[in-house]
């Protein structure tokens, strides 16, 4: 909220600098976001006296003037008519800037020199009068900056008011805080005016059909008003806080809203059918044209101010076009009401109308300040428009507004919360300064009744906060609570994730962080079948863009998008991983399943462009190796890889499911060429995505040393010729299944197909390492064991032996 210092000074004396004031307010919870010097949008305009005036020889409508600034006499050509010699006027000198981006130049107008321009209020943007130039009082000193003469300078504090401090949405509310913080006295505006003998009750009536939504409605009538621009003092104040001056009646309602925090509305009484007010709920679909000329379609929950026949305002939000004050308005019906905060909030949200009035009503205004604001506005309208206030006011108060009763405040409790003692006398002084009624109830106990404008104070803790805030947070001493002996210091998940990150970093794989929301198109891009659970999206009702409309059901889509952005940005060589949650919808309104996943993506050249390895592209085995390496780093039991041709977004011949034990945890493979095409990825990519939870706790962390053999090995290499589709895993399993004790390891040392190998076959070279824990093996002994081994493979797979050593 913008607060004009000029305006603030109407209610409290301020003898500290604006910066110091801003600092004190900030440290009391009223955060000052900016301190701005407010000056009108012109420069170089000074006061000057017209010395002589004669008609322009070449133009009927222009005059030739000589004006004096006290220091120089300047020739001016002017088209206005309202001035005469001797008048003091506002002169925009050569080089002056005036609103609208104009700058004044020395010129010749129809052959006559003009060294400046005389300005109207309107041209300077300081008032509505465009009928002639601004004439200042005759005793105004000459050659002085107009901004100083008219006191147009102000300082405006922009204060962020937290939602609890409804009472500070007014200048008087801020003044009250200033008074307490600076030890000054608060001055309320004096309210006094004359009333006519005609009783308002004989002229109109107010009926409230819905006291829950509108607990209280008060009204006054002012007759014989003349609609005019508001005086300068009011316009300056309104404009400084960002409100546009309109006319003396509308401006008063805005002024009093800003001054006291009570929104008001003025109706032109002649447009009220049957001359009365009825407060009721709107009807579903009822159209209504608000003041801003827009047609609103109402729901059945909006509170409306109506006359005998039709709605004339959306209660607490905006008036209607059909009853607004116009240039020829004569009689004004002034409304000051208390509306239910939730009602106004719901209405404003439904209609999308966040007006200043709604903002205040929904935060809660002072239910007992309604009549004071009504009277203040009546007084000002009468003053400014020459109207007469009818006798008395209508106060229809069928509802009930909760206000706080006495609150017991224990000084001991203050100390328990704050950790420091505040003396009862100081606490009482603070609370009294904030407008509370404070009584001593017993030793160290106060009974406190908050004022009705403090709609945020109901409980002891609320009072403790007020005391702390004014006492000063900086005066509360710092203490360190005792640090407990660490209990279970092992945070399994955190440690697991750290280990995963370290293992992947060690392999040159970088961590990325993608949005949790993705495009619903992702399911089609990845060719997920209808039955795939990853199509069970958690959909955001109000997404920022359709690209971010669903929660991700896979990390892969985000990784592939990251790849595309980087490839387009000239970084085609990528090794990326992400750890994060995916979301699978359950029943309507039910929280989704959130699953922790790890995903990897490799693409481009294996080591980057580099003199060692030119054109060495990343492939499937880099990806698989990365996962195996990770498993090894984490001391996980062996992962299993099962070929799978049906993973929709993976190349059917280069994809596998990943299992740990019997549990399937994900898949890996080369991205399907169709996906590469659809997502415009340009290059081949290899991805894996696995669930991480099943890996935790599978690590073999109980390390037991096993004795190793001190005897030499016997190594036998065999190249088997097998059909292409016989996987290495099958051969290795056969070997392992023998359970041969002397076999220490078996490894694949060569895979070859092509020249010299029959079509459809491949050569698979296995290296068998034999060793005994207790003796040196002989050739014979090894030969026998090895022979059995090879025979078994040949018999089971139909492999032929291509070579042996």
């Amino acid at each position: 909220m913008k607060v004009s210092l000029r305006w603030l000074r109407d209610y409290v004396d301020i003898d500290i600098s604006p910066i110091d004031l801003a600092d004190r307010l900030t440290m009391a919870g009223l955060e000052v976001d900016a301190v701005e010097e407010y000056t009108p949008a012109f420069t170089g305009v000074v006061t000057a006296r017209i010395l002589s005036m004669k008609p322009h020889p070449g133009a009927d409508k222009l005059h030739l003037l000589e004006v004096s600034t006290g220091e120089q006499v300047l020739p001016i050509v002017c088209g206005a008519r309202n001035m005469k010699a001797g008048d003091v006027v506002a002169l925009a000198t050569v080089g002056a800037a005036i609103p609208g981006g104009y700058s004044i130049k020395s010129s010749k107008i129809r052959g006559e020199a003009s060294e400046g321009m005389l300005c109207s209020e309107d041209e300077l943007g300081i008032g509505p009068d465009a009928s002639g130039i601004l004439i200042l009082p005759a005793d105004t000193p000459l050659g002085v900056n107009l901004i100083d003469v008219l006191e147009l300078r102000d300082t405006v504090l922009d204060i962020g008011i937290t939602p609890n401090r409804a009472d500070c949405l007014s200048i008087i509310g801020i003044a009250r805080e200033v008074a307490v913080l600076c030890g000054k006295k608060l001055r309320y505006p004096k309210i006094a005016f004359k009333e006519s003998s005609e009783d308002i009750r004989s002229l109109t009536s107010v009926e409230i059909m819905d006291p829950d939504f509108c607990p209280r409605y008060t009204a006054r009538m002012i007759k014989g008003v003349r609609i005019l621009p508001s005086p300068k003092w009011m316009r300056l104040r309104l404009e400084a806080v960002g409100l546009r001056a309109i006319n003396n009646v509308v401006d008063v309602t805005n002024f009093v809203m800003m001054e006291l925090g009570q929104p008001l509305h003025a109706f032109d009484f002649r447009f009220l059918d049957e001359g009365r007010i009825v407060v009721r709920r709107s009807r579903e679909g009822e159209p209504f044209v608000s003041l801003d000329g827009k047609t609103r379609n109402l729901n059945a929950e909006t509170l409306m101010i109506c006359d005998g026949r039709k709605p004339v305002a959306i209660a607490g939000i905006m008036g209607g076009e059909n009853s607004e004050v116009k240039e020829d308005t004569d009689t004004v019906l002034l409304e000051s009401a208390y509306f239910n905060p939730s009602t106004i909030r719901r209405g404003a949200r439904f209609l999308g109308m966040g007006t200043d009035a709604a903002f205040r009503f929904e935060r809660g205004i002072d239910p007992e300040g309604v009549v004071r604001a009504l009277d203040r506005a009546a007084q000002l309208i009468a003053d400014l428009s020459g109207g007469t206030v009818s006798k008395g006011h209508i106060d229809t108060y069928p509802g009930k507004v909760d206000v706080s009763g006495p609150i017991t405040l224990r000084m001991k409790r203050v100390e328990e919360i704050l950790g420091t003692e505040v003396k009862a006398a100081e606490a009482a002084a603070i609370l009294k300064g904030l407008g509370m009624n404070v009584k001593k109830e017993g030793r160290g106990v106060l009974s406190v009744i908050p004022p009705t404008f403090r709609v945020d104070l109901w409980r002891e803790i609320d009072l403790i906060e007020e005391i702390a805030r004014i006492h000063g947070y900086d005066r509360i001493p710092v203490t360190i609570p005792p640090i407990p002996a660490p209990g279970d210091i092992h945070d399994r998940k955190r440690e697991f994730e750290s280990a995963v990150r370290a293992a992947l970093n060690g392999q040159g794989i970088m961590e990325v962080l993608n949005y949790s929301f993705i495009s619903p198109q992702s399911a089609d891009a990845l060719a997920l079948p209808e039955s795939d659970e990853r199509r069970r999206f958690v959909r955001i009702a109000n997404p920022l863009t359709e690209d971010q409309a669903v929660m991700r059901s896979t990390l892969l889509y985000g990784l592939l998008e990251t790849m595309r952005r980087n490839v387009n940005a000239g970084s085609p060589d990528l090794k990326l991983f992400e750890l994060g949650k995916i979301f699978i919808a359950r029943g309507e309104g039910e929280q989704p399943r959130e699953v922790d996943k790890l995903a990897l993506l490799l693409t481009g050249s294996r080591y980057g462009e580099n003199w060692h390895f030119q054109g060495l592209a990343t492939d499937f085995y880099d990806l698989k190796g990365a996962l195996e390496n990770l498993a090894s780093c984490l001391r996980l039991a062996a992962l299993r890889f099962v070929p799978d041709t049906t993973i929709p977004y993976l190349h059917p011949g280069r994809a596998a499911r990943v299992l740990i034990g019997d549990r399937e945890i994900g898949s890996l493979g080369e991205v399907h060429p169709d996906v590469i095409g659809r997502m415009d990825l340009r290059n081949r990519a290899f991805v894996l995505e696995i669930e991480t939870e099943p890996l935790m706790g599978r690590a073999d962390t109980a390390i037991r040393y096993r004795e190793y053999s001190r005897f030499p090995t016997m190594i036998r290499d065999v190249a088997f010729l097998v059909p292409m589709e016989v996987d290495a895993d099958r051969m290795l399993s056969l070997v392992r299944e023998t359970g041969e004790e002397l076999l220490e390891t078996v490894d694949v040392f060569d895979v070859y197909s092509g020249k010299g190998i029959p079509e459809g076959m491949k050569s698979l070279g296995l290296r068998f390492t034999y060793r005994s824990p207790s003796r040196t093996l002989t050739d014979d002994e090894t030969g026998q064991v090895h022979g059995r081994m090879v025979k078994r493979i040949v018999e089971s797979t139909g492999a032929r032996i291509r070579g042996e050593s």
């Binding site: 950790g419 420091t420 803790i461 702390a468 947070y473 970088m510 949005y515 990528l574």
Partner: protein, 338 residues
Amino acid sequence: MREQLEKLQRDAEEELRGALTDEAIQVIRTKYLGRKGVLTSILRGLGSVAPEERPAMGQLANQVKDALSLRIDSVLAGLAASKKDGKLLQERFDVTLPGRGGACGKLHPITLVTQEICGILASLGFSIVEGPEVELDYYNFEALNMAKDHPSRDMQATFYITENLLLRTHTSPVQVRVMEKQKPPVRVIAPGKVYRPDADISHSPMFHQIEGLYVDKRVTFGDLKGTLTFFLKHVFGDDIGVRFRPSFFPFTEPSAEVDIRCVMCSGKGCRVCGQSGWLEILGSGMVDPEVFKAVGYDSEEYTGFAFGLGVERIAMLRYGISDIRLFTENDRRFLEQF
């Protein structure tokens, strides 16, 4: 004879200095120490030496012989070594060429900052907890004293799934979930992703928070100040200025916004701190009795404080990042720098 021996030694040394090949050295050895060499011919004159001086002369002749022999061996060895070096030098590599193997991977800056913060708080006895990101309205708002239709909900614009299901706007719902399950004392932190529909240079629709909660008997606002001051000094350095100023959060009372002296301008005022010289760094406060009521804690017996901080904000200050969108753009040239 003594003179003859000393001269032999001098002459031989002199010749060795000029000898650059094995052959030349062998020639010198033969010339002086060979069977028909200089030494042999000198020793032939031993008969003419007085008998009492003979043993001394014999001894001297042996010394000269040994010394010269050693000297010749060492010159030979030196020659061999330098020959080998020359051969190795010809096998020279350009050691300035880049080494093999890729760069090491990097952690995302958000991970780095999260790990650091969690580490500091863990040292103060806080343990880490987690909660769902798709949260019930009840936990995200209602149990935190933010009823439906209350203006405090304006403080946090929200992504909704259904009327009662939303993307959590803060990590505070984890507080409630923890307290529902656990009796005091409670000392936890909850790091995680949070979501608000806002996107510009300083707002991301997804960002990270770390929530802290400490509930026990006799926990005070002074403890809150002490804990957070300790924490901020660890993160930003011992000299950092810290201030606590009153603010409002529906689930804490009294509430405090915590500012640090601007790390960009040291408090003089700059664009980053909006000329104020201070940077808002975290929100905090004493847990509101309404929240205790919602989880069944007795607020007369227990008090506590809670705080929440934005990880992106700290990362941006720490690393000098001015656009929050860089964190999710994942450009390699960004990621490589951490």
